[in-house]
Subunit: 314 residues, 4 copies
């Protein structure tokens, strides 16, 4: 995807628009904390460190901090200390339970929050959890952003994530230099919860889009068409897209190396179906897709790539 | 969409691959007939005439032939005469009933078919009808291709249709200069019926893809997100595509100027659901989409653009 | 099911209400023809013959007439002769193609139709075919009823079918003595086509009802409940019904002796989904059920009982 | 529904079978507590008191106890005291939050539990909540049963509820005299959680069954059938049931006086869809039904009777 695409959007105005890569110039004036050094967090923190920012990192199993230290980062002892020491601390943890474990308690991240010590959660959590963290941060005098990302390992390493930020807009501005390094684009979405909801919405659409391809491909193959040609015709049309090129190939090969685990997508579908109830928006198509994904999990494809949903259809 | 994309495909080999624009060079050695001068047919025949081919045109209401005549085409009196006079005759008619009306009877197109007088039906008909026409043509000593197109008025005028050809491969080769003028690409799909089935498959996928966008957008709006931002996030992701950009805009404006009528798409969905029964491939998602499109028709959106399905969801 | 149930309905008035068994008394004043002596037709014609009516029977393979002849029926040579000889002729044939074959041609049933020689088609055909036959009969001066039945072999033998009649109401009255012998109840539904549509509607509901049981049972078993107890709880509730008792047992035994073939039900579901399009009534649930039945067919259960849809769910 | 039906089941053996009304004879040897005097609880406790049992009642708003006191019950001050005073205490509260509020804290029901002071929760809660209460009761030396009921106000008043008990089997035996008074039947389902799950399963089937009727009825009406006749034909068939008679009438009248609120059914559908994920059993049909019920809620029918789902379909 060419970066030029976002020049158009950036013309919409700052804060409402996708922020594109800018030359941040000069030395960093901010110290960043980073909690959570899994596959995603390690890559993101590394990009911060490589860009010359002052970074303090922490991970539950401390040995994962070593590669970051070799890039110039400092290792923090406990989450509270990291937050209390840094201007802005990012968290990138596996799931809501991990986020709560890192935030809570006397050594937890929240204990370090205060004026000038802000907190940005980039881990994916549901909107209710996110609002609870936000309340706790604000109560302690800090600023809060939720900032989940779309994109997986490779974009994290390349600093080309899409960052879906919501919460305190002044903190969004303050964190711009870091977002520039970690992501291709960062969008400010308004109130806390909107980041979580946007991610659900986009993932639900993605699952529906992919399922439509799978069903159409299955129908084509069963009715005598050549799968390669189905992909060619799609690729010549108005809804041609990179995902169909990549995942369509996996389907024809019936080989699904995991870039995004199917079971995580199904979890997002469940959350979208629940959100639809709270929001008063029935989802006939997405609910059907959810059941198809459940069937894919039941038949043993949960740990394969999302494209393995094809196996539950064909 | 840049034509460069198809250079890759053409490397797959002739006949199996998308054919890209080529310099046909020299004067045409073939006389083409063209039956049906509606919106699509007029534009396609005009492109043939403008390219210097010898063209004989016919339309039920003969006044529609005038613009073509002014481009150098000759007007035929009856379909039989057109076919009997020309080397290859194309038909581009509104529906299966029109195709049968033009083909049958003593003045009909089939009566003119014979060795050296071949027939290519570019109208969209179901696979069973297509096979019946093919049998009749072959019986008379002619060659037959079905060659439905994806794309609407604008691509027809610009000569950038995608042509899905199936049937006699030697006729596909012989018609290549004409296909080059009418379409951006032409794909040879094998046995008669595959063209009709490919079109159904691709349209079913398109409908599913669009419905996923609609449901996700509706969920986003109902749960407090900004619709523009939903489109922005999608457009930054792996399934960004031109259709989402165009149709997403229509949804947010809730204004659906017709480029492809919703009712035609629903008809294709019905045919896909029927094909799925014959092919032994259940379609849980596409069947749900079909019902959503029915609801859009029932609530008065059948003549609007396909994107008006959003009104049956939100 | 006790016959007492229908006493209530008969109180609603003649013609609009279910007709219950009555003492027809005296000798028959009518000669009945009967075309088609398959499983259903043989049983129905036998009931007519045993009741003392004068009956003329015909079957494509004439040896099937022997048992009827031994009950006092006369064998007709060709459908035309049967119709021309009898006051009212019934047809009970396998499918629309068989009905058309028996009706058409110089020896066909329609050729015998005229004033005083009426035709009642009890075979199941779609509403469009039924209207076509009706037009042909009326054109020849005869009266027409469509009268499909609900119920299978055993009710046919016991004379307890439910007869769904539509068309000429005076013929409905005239055929009352015969309907009394063949069915438990006969309902007059109005214009031709309503019988066919009623049957589709009731079969679609039946399929949905059964699928709901199957999915609930599958959920219960997978979540640790005892299947027998699920059936017990249902049988104590407001939607307890004989079908759930019978088919629930088959599901738990996973053994599906055919009383109504699954593939026929799926065909009716397809027709209901098509009728829903023509009628402007989307069917989200029934369409989903249709796909589940398709899956049951694809996985080899088409010739088993309708209850084998459980195998496509569990 | 005649009680004779259950004689058959009782022949299956005690404890596994539905328990039918028995003559308990003699004076009660047990003191029963009853927490929660809403519509259901008041009726159930009144049946206990009228049968001559010693009953201690408690309600958050104490004035609701007056009618029970006039029937001979004693009023307890706090849940703890009721449980500590009685041999077996029943709870019938509005929702899981109310159950937790009544159970927890120094004055709560759990604080009164101990050997000889057992607890039976008849309120409907999810299986996870039920297991948590069970653990707490057992830890304190008491016995626990979950015993949700199917049936609403009228069966509660008439003592004809169906009781779905799960947990300690010896407590099920001990509570038999009380269950005999409150319910028509009581079934022992095994481990705690099975009662909650059975109720979800049966309600999911009920919703699916009712939705199939609604869609079929809507199709019938739109295609020209008479709604009364649709009900008549169904009522003559193998899946005739009391619910269709009662709810079918409401649909034709398009008037839905609430006996079971639609929104509660939708909540149960959501829980069933969630249970299906945990249990590994995809539910294509029930998931579609859930979305239809959501649409009924969104369009303002949540507080009407479950049969108002027809309004979201027609």
């Amino acid at each position: 995807m060419d970066s030029g695409r976002f020049d158009v959007h950036s013309a919409n105005g700052y804060g409402q628009a996708w922020r594109t890569k800018t030359d941040t110039g000069g030395a960093p004036v901010t110290t960043y904390g980073f909690l959570g050094l899994g596959i995603m967090g390690s890559a993101m923190a590394a990009n911060l460190a490589r860009s010359g920012f002052e970074v303090v990192v922490w991970n539950r199993t401390p040995e994962k901090a070593a590669p970051l230290v070799s890039l110039g980062a400092r290792r923090g002892e406990i989450p509270r200390e990291v937050v209390a020491t840094c201007d802005i601390t990012f968290a990138m943890l596996a799931d809501p339970a991990a986020v709560e474990a890192v935030c809570a308690g006397p050594d937890g991240a929240l204990a370090g929050v205060g004026s000038g010590h802000d907190f940005i959660n980039m881990s994916t959590v549901d909107d209710i959890t996110s609002c609870a963290i936000s309340d706790a941060v604000v109560e302690r005098g800090g600023r809060f952003l939720e900032a989940p990302v779309t994109g997986t390992k490779q974009p994290a390493e390349e600093g080309t994530l899409a960052i879906l930020a919501a919460g305190d807009e002044s903190l969004f501005e303050a964190a711009a230099p870091a977002f520039d390094v970690m992501g291709k684009t960062a969008l400010y979405l308004g109130a806390v919860g909107n980041g979580a909801r946007m991610k659900l919405v986009v993932n639900a659409i993605m699952s529906g889009v992919l399922t439509a391809l799978c069903e159409g491909m299955a129908l084509g193959l069963k009715s005598g068409l050549d799968g390669e040609q189905v992909l060619q015709v799609i690729d010549a049309g108005a809804f041609a897209n990179p995902m169909f090129r990549a995942k369509g190939r996996l389907m024809l090969d019936r080989n699904y190396p995991t870039s995004f685990p199917l079971k995580h997508t199904q979890k997002d579908l469940r959350l979208a179906v629940e959100l639809s109830e709270r929001s008063g928006q029935p989802l006939h198509c997405i609910a059907a897709v959810n059941e198809i994904f459940k069937r894919a999990r039941v038949t043993g494809h949960g740990d394969e790539d999302i494209s393995a949903v094809f196996e539950a259809i064909r």
